[in-house]
């Protein structure tokens, strides 16, 4: 059969176009509805367990279980040393090492000043003494956590109670989550957290050792987990327990209108750290 080059090229071109477009056209016909709805908001895919909606500043009411915390800075200012007490309680509960070196520092909860905790808020003509207040900072257990999206192994994930948990077993130490977290709430174990002093004591925070809680290993990222092992036995997180009756910290399900924390939140003006990041932090501050 004599095929002219011109005719051959025409057929080849048409077949190529048909081959490329046909499956796409076919698929979009089949899943037309589903496809349209998933891209409607232009929002990134929701992190596992959280229902991130892309409505800008207007946050939808959520009835998902979400543990959260209210930290009353004024109460911490009234009770001298209470903030440090919370840090000690947490770090000795979780065998957090202290190498006395800011480069290797591991912190689950820490004290900083207003200026560094709330960088998004204007410091111009701010209240006198604002930066002398002890501000407790920790993982915000965001409703839309960027660290969870960054983690390649699902070592960090949002559990059924809205807590952003670290599964230390799965962490490969890539530190993507640390880059993703806008709050600096994650620390990397550059050194073996089980290092000992010459006298045989662990280099743990204030020499505190809790035999019931494991340590981590070198090359693992760690952060506050809202004490799931304590919540499971009906205790409050270690830091909240350390505040005693001062009500400086309130903990609970922020999406349950009957909970104490929801009532505190509705009765007080609270701010969150860097709300513009869109992460929806679950830790609130009364300044």
């Amino acid at each position: 059969m004599d095929v002219k080059r011109r005719k051959f090229l025409k057929i080849a071109g048409l077949s190529a176009v048909a081959g490329i477009t046909a499956p796409t056209a076919f698929n979009s016909l089949l899943n037309g509805a589903a496809f349209a709805s998933s891209t409607e908001h232009g929002a990134p895919p929701a992190a596992e367990g959280s229902h991130a909606t892309g409505h800008g500043g207007h946050e939808e009411e959520s009835n998902l279980f979400q543990y959260g915390m209210v930290i009353d800075i004024k109460k911490f200012a009234e009770h001298q040393g209470l903030a440090e007490k919370c840090v000690t309680a947490c770090h000795s509960e979780h065998n957090v090492p202290d190498f006395g070196n800011p480069k290797d520092e591991i912190k689950w909860i820490w004290v900083d000043d207003y200026e560094h905790g709330f960088t998004g808020y204007s410091q111009n003509k701010s209240m006198t003494g604002l930066n002398d207040l002890p501000v407790l900072l920790t993982c915000n257990h965001c409703a839309n956590p960027p660290c969870v999206r960054a983690c390649p192994t699902k070592a960090t994930f949002k559990n059924d109670h809205g807590v952003v948990v670290m599964d230390f077993h799965r962490c490969i130490g890539c530190r993507f989550c640390m880059a993703a977290c806008p709050y600096g709430a994650r620390s990397f174990n550059w050194r073996n957290p089980r290092e000992k002093y010459a006298n045989g004591n662990y280099k743990f925070y204030k020499n505190g050792i809790n035999p019931n809680y494991p340590t981590r290993m070198r090359g693992v990222v760690e952060k506050c987990n809202f004490c799931p092992e304590r919540l499971a036995v009906g205790k409050l997180p270690a830091c909240v327990e350390a505040t005693g009756n001062t009500k400086a910290m309130v903990f609970g399900n922020i999406n349950d209108p009957k909970s104490e924390i929801a009532q505190v939140l509705s009765a007080n003006f609270t701010i969150q750290r860097n709300p513009a990041a869109g992460t929806k932090p679950s830790v609130f501050y009364i300044i």
């Binding site: 948990v165 077993h169 019931n212 494991p214 499971a232």
Partner: protein, 127 residues
């Protein structure tokens, strides 16, 4: 047929065979030391049968870990009026406190090196 340097060749061959088969007989001798398992005193039951625990304790630990850490399922296992926490450190080691006897005895024999103890404490370690 004459064989040149008979002595040298044969000794060389003998040495070669000994070196090549060294791993075989070395392990034959070593394998004589079969680990002796010792059941904990005063404890009559475990969360599984002896055979099951021997063959599948690692799966049990993995399942427990995933349930506790990932699924928020910390339900205590109740067996014969006794409660067992789903935990290596607080569960298993409560009845089997000696890591050397309970873990290392077999793991060393089987050349299995689990990394549990990089993070978890064994009962005596913290004292």
């Amino acid at each position: 047929m004459p064989m040149y340097d008979r002595g040298k060749v044969l000794t060389g061959l003998a040495i070669f065979v000994i070196i090549m088969t060294f791993p075989v007989w070395y392990n034959l001798v070593r394998a004589q030391h079969v680990p002796k398992t010792e059941l904990p005193k005063d404890v009559k039951q475990c969360v599984g049968t002896v055979d099951y625990m021997r063959s599948s304790h690692m799966q049990v630990l993995d399942i427990w870990r995933n349930e506790v850490v990932r699924d928020e399922n910390r339900k205590v296992i109740e067996l014969g009026g006794k409660q067992y926490v789903k935990s290596l450190q607080l569960g298993c080691m409560a009845c089997h406190p000696d890591r050397k006897k309970f873990c290392d005895e077999c793991h060393t024999y089987a050349a299995v090196d689990p990394f549990c103890w990089d993070c978890h404490f064994q009962p005596k370690e913290t004292k």
